[in-house]
């Protein structure tokens, strides 16, 4: 680990100022990912600004009927928050499907958005990686890529975003509030993470020095008809091969509104709005689900060891839509759909 200096911020303005005043600096929240990456020499910040103690840990109602998730609230506190369990059980389930209780107790909401890919090559500085060292090449292409992308990848990077929480967020479409050297702004969740294109070193659209302060969920929480289905290589403590977040609104057997997002398949949580449009107004039948699932993976590309994910994703979408339509899921159900 390279030597670094460290400070602890007590308010947002100080944090932003402190970071701007140090070259090669980084914010650290729970540290559950950044510290690992520093030990592996993947990240080498010269200065850390600890933002975990900023007064941003509240989860509170918004006037428009939504819910504000403070950036420094832990993943555990968020998952088990009464309002989240009641109004956004999809988020509860997605968070609980990720990591371990110990990690969720330390990890923050802002940090969850900022976690980096688990690509084997990104983690191993002995191998080339465009995300870690732009221009060095992508070892995963033509290499071992079981956990890599089938959608939206580029010739420079086929990494995936590893979060479960963010897949549910992609479906719930919150606004990300950020503060930076140029003041505050908001970013729609779907615009927060990005595809690799020819700049895989950038995971998201934050400007230099910007800090996430909250996630503002809209009122609509799909609390009745939802599903989070995670498929992985063991039953806990493994990243998703494919995960699916679904939120539906139903009028009898007819779908009146739909959200559909996938994890483990792309450089960002993969929300498919066209698929959502295909669901609206349709009966909740196997035929509908199959057509929508086929649409989502129509342009999917396998990389060798992850070819199976195309078919797996298709089947997982069908299953998750069925589960959501049945409306039998409840907050706290951690092991779902065969997992």
């Amino acid at each position: 680990m390279y030597p670094f200096t460290y400070s602890r911020a007590t308010n947002v303005a100080d944090a932003v100022r402190d970071k701007a005043g140090h070259k090669a600096s980084a914010y650290v929240g729970g540290g559950t990912n950044l510290i690992d990456l520093m030990k592996m020499n993947v990240e080498q910040p010269a200065h850390l600004v600890n933002v975990a103690k900023l007064p941003l840990s509240k989860i509170e109602d918004l006037p428009d009927g939504g819910l504000r998730l403070g950036a420094t609230a832990t993943n555990s506190d968020t998952a088990w928050n009464e309002a989240v369990k009641k109004r956004y059980p999809l988020l509860n389930q997605a968070i609980l499907a990720g990591a371990s209780p110990q990690l969720r107790n330390a990890a923050t909401n802002g940090g969850n958005l900022m976690q980096r890919t688990r690509c084997y090559y990104f983690y191993d500085v002995a191998t080339p990686c465009n995300k870690r060292e732009p221009g060095s090449g992508c070892s995963a292409i033509g290499g071992y890529n079981r956990i890599h992308a089938i959608l939206g990848a580029s010739e420079t990077c086929i990494a995936t975003h590893p979060s479960d929480m963010c897949v549910a967020l992609a479906a719930l479409a919150p606004t990300v509030r950020v503060s930076g050297p140029n003041g505050e702004r908001t970013i729609a969740f779907e615009d927060f993470h990005r595809l690799p294109a020819d700049q895989p070193e950038f995971d998201n659209t934050l400007a230099e020095g910007e800090l996430i302060t909250s996630l503002d969920l809209p009122e609509k929480g799909f609390a009745k008809h939802f599903a989070y289905l995670k498929l992985r290589d063991r039953h806990s403590y493994a990243f998703a091969l494919v995960s699916v977040a679904v939120g539906l609104e139903m009028d009898g057997d007819t779908i009146t509104d739909a959200r559909l997002a996938l994890g483990g398949v792309a450089h960002k949580p993969w929300r498919d709005k066209a698929a959502e449009a295909l669901l609206k107004g349709q009966p909740a039948t196997a035929e509908t689900f199959g057509r929508v699932a086929a649409h989502v993976v129509a342009n999917a590309v396998g990389q060798g060891s992850n070819d199976f994910k195309i078919e797996l994703a298709r089947r997982a979408i069908v299953r998750a839509l069925k589960q959501a339509a049945e409306g039998k899921q409840e907050a706290g159900d951690m092991y779902l759909g065969g997992q």
């Binding site: 390279y2 071992y144 092991y335």
Partner: protein, 743 residues
């Protein structure tokens, strides 16, 4: 006085409180004064040469003490012999920092030593090394036709027996026959505790090495050979181990590095490997197997052929017994077994839980399932029809073998009779249900061991032997044996292990510790008992006057006549009356070759597993496992059960998730961490029933114990694979069975 019959009961671990309280110290935790820290630099290339190590740049950092590499390593032993440890395979052992040549990926190429761990790690990251790369080959698939039969070489390795009967002809004429290839990739031991060595510099060239090892004497001998040290110059200690599974059988490069640095710097040094480096110290080899079987009209085996090929390094012929078990587990007159190695640019594989057997057992027991289906027989019935009463490999009877009783009890507990034979014929909870079985056989061996017993005037017994405790329960069972032999409560007995200042014990492997060290402990206590009897017979009015040792027994703190319990003396009174502060006795134990010569000595087991498979998604959940083990006498029901529970988890991991994946482009293992090398977590592990079928066996050793740690893993992997077939109708022959193989 409390009851002093301890053997076969289920006392708690005597070292449990120490572990819970954090008072059990592991090798990387001995905080000796003035400690320096070494950090190993690993090669990013797989084959080639080091051209230059830019050590001076790093030496210039304040706090960095030295950078060791082949460029400045001092004179070390020259001959291979000096680097050979007790179970080194044939060939030329790897010598760290010996030459510029790179022969495997993550080969240790330098050690950076600094005043703090953090500084050493930082400096190691800065160290520039120029390499000349050469083309490498790490893919076993490319060597299918280049296998060769290894020579004998490694202790315990038995080349397959010659063919018996007419295996080709019999196969040709069989009523039903099958032929199938089975494969599994490399697997790493992945104990929780990292390899670490703390070397305490005692001055005058003398050191104490607190080293993570399954054999302190093995490490001491290695260090004496490599560094030219005398026996009194180097003491090796390891009292606790956070898991070994075979990874600590051979001295690892961590101990070489730490001792090198300590001797050169004349200072205490600690070296701890990283998790990633734990993937550079040996593994269960990538193995390919070809099985051919045929049956007679009555469902008996007409022919059995089993051939295995696995990888080894360029420098050693790592060997294990993969196929021999197939000539022993079932009765068959026509058998052909073959075993070959192929050299790749990798580090030497290393023994890993039930080495060889775990691999060969998957081939044999999945093939037996395939054969049962081909012959239209229930897999259990098929095994019963081919039950081996004798070990046909050596044409001897077994000293004891209650496998049939294992089958009976485990099948009843599992409810095997509820199984319907046809694949895809059982369903529950919207899932396909499958039931499978597999069994296994493992050596019941005993190695030469020594122990010392001392008793103080107040009746406190201490017994010492330089064996190991890697979580198996060694402290506890040895305490039980010693306490029962001298009729003492467990609290009055302390067993000490893991120190070359103690009498020599073999490396802790092969499931032989209970039999080997246990017998030595019993013998040492008996030798002490004879001395105590003599003291007891000194008074002219002794009630034991004239009694021979065989005629007395130590029970509940007393020494009494076996046939007349009223004729007794209190042990503590005898000791105190003697006026001696302490009595001691040494003894050793060897297998009784004369007694054992006419027999085959083995433990057996069977496992039944049930799985639920979500057919659409390919997900597999193991819902139940019943394991029955026949391994002689069980010394401690609790620690033995824990060992078998762990074994079942190992079998489950091998079946469904464990695989170290190499990117052959780099010749490098890529999932080298706990996040991506998957071992089962609690959520994967179902209810496990463990049954011990008692065997009376006075041939195998005086205690009648056979060892259980390895046999318990056998059968489990195949049982799960067979259950997946039963559920789905899909026969997956390359492990692990991950969900994509069922889509």
């Amino acid at each position: 006085m409390t009851q002093t019959n301890h053997i076969g009961k289920a006392p708690n671990r005597v070292d449990g409180p120490l572990k819970v309280a954090g008072a059990a110290h592991y090798s990387g935790e001995f905080n000796v004064p003035n400690l320096a820290y070494g950090y190993v630099v690993s090669s990013p290339i797989t084959k080639g040469k080091i051209l230059k190590v830019y050590a001076d740049e790093v030496r210039a950092l304040p706090g960095v003490l030295e950078v060791f590499s082949h460029e400045n390593v001092p004179y070390l032993a020259w001959f291979d012999k000096s680097y050979k440890d007790q179970i080194a395979p044939g060939g030329s052992p790897f010598r760290p920092l010996h030459a510029p040549d790179i022969t495997f990926n993550q080969q240790p190429v330098a050690l950076v030593v600094a005043d703090t761990f953090e500084l050493a790690r930082y400096a190691a990251a800065l160290l520039r090394i120029d390499y000349e790369q050469q083309a490498h080959e790490t893919n076993l698939e490319t060597k299918r036709t280049e296998g060769y039969a290894p020579g004998k070489g490694k202790t315990g390795f038995q080349p397959p027996p010659p063919p018996r009967g007419k295996p080709d002809k019999a196969l040709e004429n069989a009523t039903h026959s099958i032929e199938a290839e089975y494969a599994h990739g490399a697997q790493h031991h992945n104990p929780m505790e990292l390899f670490a060595t703390t070397v305490e510099w005692r001055g005058n060239g003398q050191i104490t090495a607190y080293d993570k090892t399954q054999g302190v004497y093995n490490v001491q001998n290695y260090l004496m050979g490599v560094f030219g040290l005398g026996k009194n110059d180097v003491r090796v200690v390891n009292q606790f181990m956070g898991g070994g599974f075979g990874s600590g059988l051979r001295p690892q490069y961590s101990v070489f590095m730490a001792v090198l640095a300590a001797l050169e710097l004349k200072r205490s040094v600690r070296v701890t490997l990283t998790r990633q480096q734990m993937f550079s110290i040996g593994h269960r080899p990538n193995t390919l197997q070809l099985l051919k079987m045929g049956t007679n009209p009555d469902g008996t085996l007409a022919a059995l052929q089993h051939h295995a090929l696995h990888e080894t390094s360029q420098f050693e012929d790592y060997t294990e017994n993969v196929v021999n078990w197939s000539g022993m587990l079932y009765k068959c007159e026509n058998v052909k077994l073959g075993y070959e190695l192929a050299k790749l640019d990798i580090y030497s594989p290393q023994d890993m839980r039930a080495p060889g057997a775990a691999s060969g057992n998957v081939g044999l027991e999945v093939a037996m399932d395939e054969m049962a289906y081909a012959a239209g027989l229930d897999p259990l019935e098929f095994r019963l029809r081919n039950y081996a009463e004798r070990d046909q490999n050596v044409d001897k009877p077994f000293s004891s073998k209650k496998l049939r009783e294992c089958y009976r009890q485990a099948a009843a507990k599992f409810g095997w009779e509820n199984r319907t034979q046809a694949p895809r014929s059982m369903r529950a909870n919207g899932k396909l249900v499958g039931m499978g079985m597999g069994g296994g056989v493992w050596d019941a061996s005993q190695q030469k061991s020594a122990a010392k017993a001392l008793i103080s005037a107040d009746g406190k017994l201490t017994v010492r032997s330089a064996t190991g405790e890697n979580g198996t329960g060694t402290y506890t069972i040895m305490t039980q044996i010693a306490a029962e032999t001298l009729g003492l409560p467990l609290k009055a007995v302390t067993f000490e292990l893991g120190d070359t200042d103690q009498p020599e014990a073999p490396i802790q492997g092969g499931s032989w510790t209970a039999a080997s060290v246990g017998t030595a402990v019993k013998n040492a206590c008996d030798a002490l008992g004879e001395k105590i009897l003599k003291l007891a017979q000194k008074p002219a009015d002794s009630p034991l006057m004239g009694a021979k040792y065989e005629e007395v027994e130590f029970v509940n703190g007393q020494l009494r006549l076996r046939l007349d319990h009223a004729q007794a003396v209190v042990l503590r009174d005898v000791l105190q009356a003697s006026g001696k502060s302490q009595l001691e006795a040494d003894s050793s134990a060897m297998p009784n070759m004369v007694k054992q010569n006419g027999y085959s000595l083995h433990s057996h087991n069977v496992a039944f597993a049930e799985v639920e498979v979500d057919e659409d998604l390919g997900t597999i959940k193991v819902t139940r496992v019943v394991s029955a083990v026949a391994a002689g006498r069980i010394l401690n029901q609790k620690t033995a059960r824990s060992q078998v529970l762990g074994s079942v988890v190992w079998g489950l991991g091998m079946a469904l998730m464990e695989e170290t994946v190499m990117d052959h482009k780099f010749g490098r293992y890529m999932n080298h961490n706990f996040a991506e090398y998957h071992i089962p977590v609690n959520a994967d592990i179902p209810h496990i029933d463990v049954i011990f079928v008692h065997e009376d066996d006075d041939i195998v050793n005086p205690l009648g114990v056979k060892g259980i740690g390895e046999v318990g893993m056998l059968g489990v992997t195949a049982a799960i694979a067979n259950a997946v077939f039963h559920a789905t109708g899909k026969r997956v022959r390359d492990l692990p069975i991950m969900l994509d193989k069922l889509l």
